[in-house]
């Protein structure tokens, strides 16, 4: 029987994500590389007490809609609806405004483990590669070193960083085939590529599903063994139009004025 990892529904593809699960969420921070429809589906499912592993914790769809993105929901939908118990992230709050994660953090309603971005990538890769841990020099002498085991190797101080394991990795890619091979676009590989295969189950949200053989073997970035499920975005965004509130408008304006996040 032919291999077929394609699911037809976003609700179905996240149906077995349970309360208390640890989920990796791909992307960098901007919504272009975020699995937006998976975020919406997971929110609809109403799951609670998630531990999340991601670069940021989301900024809300308003700011992205103002920047012209149609698929605009990011991890903030899980944050603002109280679905997250703990976040492991490198950039959990914004330099521009107080995101919902920061509000909950200040209110003592979520836990945070902040990890340097490269260490986050390496700890995720360690889980994927079956390693017990890695020694990194990044963060030595800073707050990140607190409570960590250190070791002098070749005259230099390193910290032991352990793998981050997860139940599900929710990632965004550009194209997939029915085997689960993935390609990305431009600067949108980010943590999507690194997380693929790092969790027990990897679910890829893609722009397009193509026939087996259409993806050039030299160009496939994520070989199919790392991917368990694939689900395609609809051509047109069919979700609710989000309310663009004053805060989103202010954040957007600040972003444009500053020339970046």
């Amino acid at each position: 029987m032919p291999i077929n990892k394609i699911f037809n529904s976003f609700d179905e593809v996240v149906a077995d994500i349970q309360d208390g699960a640890t989920i990796m969420v791909g992307g960098f921070g901007t919504v272009a590389s975020c699995p937006t429809m998976l975020m919406e589906a997971l929110d609809r499912k109403g799951v609670k007490n998630l531990t999340t592993v991601s670069n940021t914790t989301g900024f809300g769809s308003g700011v992205w809609k103002l920047m012209g993105y149609k698929f605009a929901e990011d991890m903030d939908i899980l944050v603002r609806n109280g679905r997250i118990k703990k976040a492991i992230a490198s950039a959990p709050v914004s330099a521009i405004f107080e995101n919902n994660f920061e509000k909950l953090l200040r209110a003592g309603k979520v836990e945070l483990e902040m990890v340097p971005q490269g260490t986050l990538a390496e700890r995720i890769r360690a889980a994927k590669a079956g390693l017990g841990g890695v020694y990194t020099p990044v963060g030595v002498g800073t707050v990140v070193e607190e409570g960590k085991e250190t070791k002098i190797i070749d005259g230099k101080k390193y910290m032991l960083e352990l793998p981050i394991k997860a139940d599900f990795a929710l990632i965004k890619a550009h194209k997939a085939d029915r085997w689960g091979n993935l390609v990305y676009r431009g600067s949108s590989r980010t943590f999507n590529e690194t997380m693929a295969g790092a969790a027990k189950i990897t679910i890829a949200e893609v722009d397009e599903i193509v026939e087996l053989g259409e993806l050039d073997p030299e160009e496939i970035v994520t070989p199919c063994v790392y991917v368990d499920r694939v689900v395609a975005r609809p051509k047109e965004y069919g979700g609710d139009e989000d309310v663009i509130d004053e805060e989103a408008q202010a954040s957007h304006d600040k972003f444009i004025k500053r020339g970046g996040a």
Binding site: P92, P116, Q117, G118, A121, V138, G186, E193, G260
Partner: protein, 223 residues
């Protein structure tokens, strides 16, 4: 007394861009650093790396005109460019941590005499944003910090010891502020250039560590 000028954001970026040589791979941080991309002399080949996984990209596009899948780390759309390459996060930070980038240009809140950098957290806010800062401050071969010389309330940002939580120890090579260019060396901080109208003594007054005045110390050159 001569009129004193402070470099504005664009001018600081312009001065910083002078540091980039042909073939240098450069990561530009959020804020003033990202503006450096606008000041590369025609014909100079500088490779910009962005930690979200692109190397060798071109200029920032006009707002709303770019490809949303071609962003720099500040979230701005950029133009593709011949020779550009794309990669994921593990590879991007292999590049950064592994010392494969020539220059990291970052903003700073404070820099210490020994080159410690504090740029991820304002203590009053109680929450910082580490992001890629610790990796970039550690990994690039040369770290250039762009910042205002003093705080809004007039306190020096260049200190004997940082009072803010640090991003990385002893990592800074060069500070380009709105009034001076200072090199961090094993022997101490060396004042190399001053903004128009400033004396070395005036810069020293706004700088906590004792500066070594470079014999060739001169007015900041922009071209």
């Amino acid at each position: 007394m001569e009129e004193k000028f402070k470099l504005d954001r664009q001018t600081i970026a312009l001065r910083a861009a002078k540091e980039f040589q042909d073939g240098d791979s450069v990561n530009l941080g959020i804020g003033i650093p990202v503006l450096c991309a606008n000041y590369i002399p025609v014909g100079r080949e500088v490779l910009f790396q962005s930690e979200n996984g692109i190397l060798g990209f071109g200029e920032v596009t006009a707002p709303g005109e770019g490809d949303p899948d071609l962003l720099n780390a500040s979230g701005q759309t950029v133009h593709p460019r011949p020779g550009m390459s794309c990669f994921g996060h593990a590879e991007s930070f292999t590049m950064i941590r592994g010392g494969h980038l020539d220059i990291s240009v970052m903003g700073g809140f404070q820099v210490s005499e020994k080159g410690d950098l504090a740029n991820y957290m304002v203590p009053e806010r109680k929450i910082g944003v580490i992001g890629g800062a610790m990796d970039l401050a550690y990994g690039a071969k040369r770290k250039i910090i762009l910042m205002n010389h003093i705080t809004k309330t007039g306190e020096p940002r260049i200190l004997k010891k940082c009072t803010y939580p640090i991003t990385a120890m002893g990592c800074v090579n060069l500070i380009i502020s709105d009034i001076a260019v200072i090199e961090v060396t094993d022997k101490g901080m060396v004042l190399k250039e001053v903004a128009p109208g400033w004396t070395t003594e005036e810069v020293q007054q706004l700088t906590e560590p004792t500066l070594i005045i470079d014999p060739d110390c001169h007015e900041i050159e922009l071209m």
